[in-house]
């Protein structure tokens, strides 16, 4: 396909020839198929104008319309008494009690970050913030989930440090703390890094704003940055197509971020909400003005007149299609009662935010766009959203699954525990991510009471007893080996992480990163993943309130591992006065294992991957009963102040989990084990915790009450890590373990 779309002024002005045999036909260059073109002709009853084609191309893009995924996403459980806004709006919203709401969303910026890592990641942050403050919420925290190819490749180092700089540069300057996230490396992301970002905001119930245009007569006010030619066709071209060596030529499709503009825009919008000056708001992210006019009009069941000549622009001579498709960042569309327009413009002036009156909500259903005195588009507004194609893509279980599952690693003998542990601690996907998160402001707003470097994060709401817990989790390798089990396991892991802060899991958002949906194997992975997430959510009694689908994560025909990432939100009310942390284990405390005695197995584990380079076998099925009991137990332990330190058993298994506690707390530990496999198995329904020996009886009573099992497997003390199997003892010096863990990233990047 042609990619050199954006900069040439004439590229979008040629007629939309219906000549379907011509590769240069405008609709094809815009990423529309011939069938989609025919459908547009049917809707309009005539040949579309270039501006109209431009609008359909972005709104019907995979990125905006979810045309390949929508029929599967219906499977998600989406209801619970505390859901205020479910999927379909800019962000999901849940009720935290006492009039407080939380709005949150997760998004991907994978392809832009590959083409231009700094700006790609930066504008990903900007975009997700707008999704959240569009709902009336003040964004209070960000989480980044980033995945790259191995760091021994200079290109991957460039992408990694560029993305981290972009998140740091934008997030810090826009003034929203990045309090956690995920970092993983695998060969499958070399040609296609994943850059996901989640944002959470809080608001009072009366401030909730929806993306509706409201009544006819309302005025559309465009706020924020001037519209330019940057980011034209990002949704349709960048986000909705696969990659090859030519992708660098797509750089003009990546937007350029300006966190200062966004900061002013946030404050201006929050003042508009506080003073009740707007009826609805829609952000201009992917699909730009097309989306910001069509979606609110469609939601309101109204039409709209849009005047492109009124749009404040960065450069002269922009064509109507360019104006409609531009993804210039830091813009919002507000819908305002005519009597309040002057006040809205005054608020914008105060915050030094540019504003123009660009349209009016009309009776009927037509979206009419004028430019230079001519009507350049006149289409049913809802046809851009509701009539977008839905594809029931062919699904086929990959032929390779049987081979993958039978390809179990044959462990001939027990590994040397000490060297194995040191090797795992030095793995960049397991090691300390401090090099990353110390570049992010993670403390702003004084809400962060459990910050980065922990399984879950806890943010208080000042002036209340409530705190919001969040954990974001993914595991591409597990999902590759079994998408359904892998997806369920990451949901359980996230729930447990949230529970270990003392909070009850409430809802998730998900970001589904997949390969090319035109391949039946990819759609099978997708369907299985949706099923796995749904099963786990049902077992936990929590809904999916929003999310994002990112397809076409393939480069040169090679798909990434199916990589769903979930962001799970929980609530602690009241929050613990001394929240558990990894650095709160002390000499003399017991080390407990919570959960079934049997580990899940080593298929898909970091152990097999890091030590033997093996990816095969079928990961164990998650145990829903044990997982929900683990959640109950963790919440109970924290509420009863029976443990100051809890930790999940994820990447690297129990041995790594013990080491992480010991390193953070600066105290050694001794562990009894019977089977070395239990040291390296990763189990979403098991966790470790430290506790004062005086609490033994109460811990056992609590475990019995919630149907969980607990076992004392050792104690803290000394200056080394000791692993005992009968009389056999392996010893790892704690300082050496700490150095391996802390230096893994810096030494690879220096």
């Amino acid at each position: 396909m042609r990619t050199e779309l954006a900069p040439e002024e004439d590229a979008l002005t040629e007629g939309g020839a219906a000549d379907t045999g011509d590769d240069d036909a405008l609709h094809r260059r815009l990423g529309l198929t011939d069938d989609e073109y025919t459908r547009i002709v049917e809707i309009l009853g005539r040949t579309p104008e270039p501006a109209e084609l431009a609008m359909y191309s972005v709104m019907w893009s995979e990125h905006c319309s979810y045309k390949s995924s929508r029929i599967h996403l219906r499977r998600f459980p989406t209801e619970a008494p505390w859901v205020v806004v479910g999927p379909g709006e800019n962000a999901g919203v849940i009720d935290l009690g006492d009039g407080w709401l939380a709005a949150f969303r997760i998004e991907s910026h994978n392809h832009p970050s590959y083409v231009e890592p700094y700006q790609g990641a930066a504008t990903g942050v900007g975009g997700i913030l707008r999704d959240v403050f569009t709902m009336g919420a003040r964004p209070i925290a960000l989480w980044d989930q980033i995945r790259f190819g191995p760091l021994d490749n200079p290109r991957n180092r460039y992408l990694f440090s560029g993305v981290v700089s972009g998140i740091s540069g934008y997030g810090n300057a826009v003034g929203v703390p990045t309090v956690g996230g995920e970092l993983a490396f695998d060969e499958c992301y070399s040609g296609n890094p994943l850059v996901n970002v989640m944002c959470l905001g809080i608001l009072r119930r009366e401030q909730l704003v929806l993306g509706t245009a409201g009544e006819p007569g309302n005025i559309a006010v465009l706020l924020g940055a001037a519209t330019g030619r940057d980011g034209i066709g990002g949704a349709s071209i960048l986000a909705s197509a696969s990659f090859d060596e030519e992708s660098a030529t797509m750089r003009p499709s990546v937007q350029v971020g300006d966190p200062f503009e966004e900061k002013k825009l946030i404050e201006a919008c929050l003042e508009l909400y506080e003073r009740d000056l707007v009826v609805g708001v829609q952000d201009l992210g992917a699909a730009g003005l097309s989306c910001a006019s069509a979606e609110p009009a469609a939601r309101a069941g109204a039409g709209m007149d849009l005047d492109l000549d009124a749009v404040h622009v960065r450069e002269p001579g922009m064509t109507a299609p360019e104006l409609l498709m531009s993804e210039s960042q830091e813009r919002m569309m507000a819908f305002v009662d005519p009597s309040k327009v002057d006040e809205v413009l005054a608020v914008a002036e105060k915050w030094e935010v540019a504003a123009s009156v660009v349209g009016e909500v009309t009776e009927g259903t037509r979206l009419r766009v004028e430019h230079r005195g001519e009507v350049v588009a006149d289409i049913p507004a809802a046809s851009l959203t509701d009539d977008a194609p839905r594809y029931e893509r062919p699904i086929g279980e990959p032929a390779w699954m049987e081979d993958l599952w039978s390809n179990r690693f044959k462990h001939m003998s027990a590994p040397e525990v000490g060297p194995t542990l040191l090797r795992l601690l030095d793995d960049p996907s397991i090691a300390s991510a401090a090099w990353v998160y110390e570049q992010y402001d993670h403390m702003l707003f004084l809400n962060t009471i459990v910050g980065p470097g922990h399984d879950g994060n806890l943010l208080r709401i000042k002036g209340t007893d409530k705190a919001i817990a969040v954990s974001t989790d993914g595991n591409g390798r597990l999902c590759y080996l079994d998408p359904r089990r892998g997806a369920a396991r990451i949901v359980y892991e996230a729930a447990l992480n949230v529970a270990m802060t003392g909070a009850r899991p409430k809802a998730i958002v998900d970001n589904l990163n997949f390969g090319n949906p035109e391949k039946p194997e990819v759609m099978w992975q997708f369907r299985e993943t949706v099923e796995g997430i749904s099963e786990a959510c049902e077992a936990l009694g929590i809904p999916v309130v929003g999310g994002n689908v990112s397809f076409y994560n393939e480069t040169d025909g090679i798909d990434i591992y199916p990589t769903p990432v979930v962001g799970l939100v929980g609530v602690a009310d009241p929050y613990p006065s001394r929240p558990p942390r990894l650095d709160r284990a002390e000499a003399g405390m017991d080390l407990w294992l919570a959960g079934p005695a049997e580990a899940t197995g080593l298929a898909g584990s970091s152990f097999e991957k890091v030590v033997y380079g093996h990816v095969g076998g079928r990961p164990g099925a998650p145990d829903a009963t044990a997982a929900t009991a683990a959640v109950d137990l963790a919440v109970g332990l924290v509420a009863a102040e029976l443990s100051p330190c809890l930790h999940d058993i994820s990447d690297g298994g129990l041995a790594v989990a013990v080491a992480e506690i010991a390193i953070a707390s600066g105290v050694g530990a001794r562990v009894d084990y019977s089977d070395w496999r239990h040291l390296f198995s990763e189990d979403p329904h098991r966790f470790l915790f430290a506790s004062d020996p005086g609490h033994r009886e109460r811990i056992e009573e609590l475990a019995a009450a919630v149907g969980a099992s607990v076992t004392r497997i050792g104690e803290f003390g000394g200056e080394s890590l000791m692993f005992d199997r009968g009389a056999k003892r392996d010893i790892v010096d704690l300082a050496e373990a700490g150095t391996a863990y802390r230096e893994a990233l810096p030494r690879r990047l220096s």
Binding site: D258, Y437, Y440, T448
Partner: protein, 217 residues
């Protein structure tokens, strides 16, 4: 009760935190927009952290021209407490109320983590109630946090225990000669409660509040 102005520039982001921490100490802390030109109703002023005017050109370089800065200068000249935290420190240097300048950290990376700081000069509005030699743990959160002062006149109020960013004399905070204008790079307001990991910053903010209470009405 003393009234402290917390100035909000476009791009400031620590104003609510500074206000929260000062109010927690019983002070009356009010947000003041940067276009305000009269601070006569206030006993002291805090320039909070953030990215005033986007920190474009150079951190603080545009903020020094904000209308409020002439009133801030007047406060400084009349001996009232003027404290700049992080970006506020950068603005005070750019405005010439403190010597030197803040340049990018030695390793050219943003640094956000708690650091140990030793208070060495207790004759300023931010440290008057602190014992000399007290070591406090305060969160650092800055990219342009390295003090450079070719004039060598900077009066160092507090030093990093370890050299974290290349700052001259390991300076974490400096003052003017009178001790009423203080710039500090780490954030005392972020360590004002135990639940945040440290309450070490309280003692500094208490000093500031006490200093504003001494101002004759």
């Amino acid at each position: 009760m003393s009234r402290i102005a917390v100035v909000v520039f476009p791009g400031s982001n620590c104003e609510l935190d500074a206000q929260w921490a000062l109010r927690g100490l019983g002070a009356e802390a009010e947000l003041v927009w940067h276009r305000e030109t009269d601070l006569s109703g206030f006993d002291g002023v805090v320039l909070p952290g953030g990215f005033a005017h986007g920190d474009y050109l150079r951190a603080g370089a545009i903020a020094r021209f904000s209308p409020v800065m002439s009133a801030v200068t007047e406060m400084a000249e009349t001996g009232r407490p003027v404290v700049g935290i992080c970006n506020g420190f950068q603005i005070l240097c750019e405005a010439g109320l403190l010597p030197g300048a803040l340049i990018a950290n030695r390793d050219l990376r943003f640094i956000c983590r708690p650091v140990e700081v030793e208070v060495i000069d207790t004759d300023t509005v931010l440290t008057a109630t602190v014992e000399p030699g007290t070591v406090v743990t305060l969160p650092l959160s800055s990219y342009e946090g390295q003090l450079t002062d070719p004039t060598g006149t900077a009066r160092v109020v507090a030093r990093y225990v370890e050299d974290v960013n290349g700052s001259q004399d390991r300076a974490a905070a400096i003052a003017n000669e009178a001790g009423n204008v203080v710039g500090i790079m780490p954030h005392p307001e972020r360590s004002s409660e135990e639940i945040l990991g440290s309450a070490d910053g309280r003692v500094l903010l208490e000093s500031l509040v006490a200093a504003t209470e001494k101002i004759p009405a």
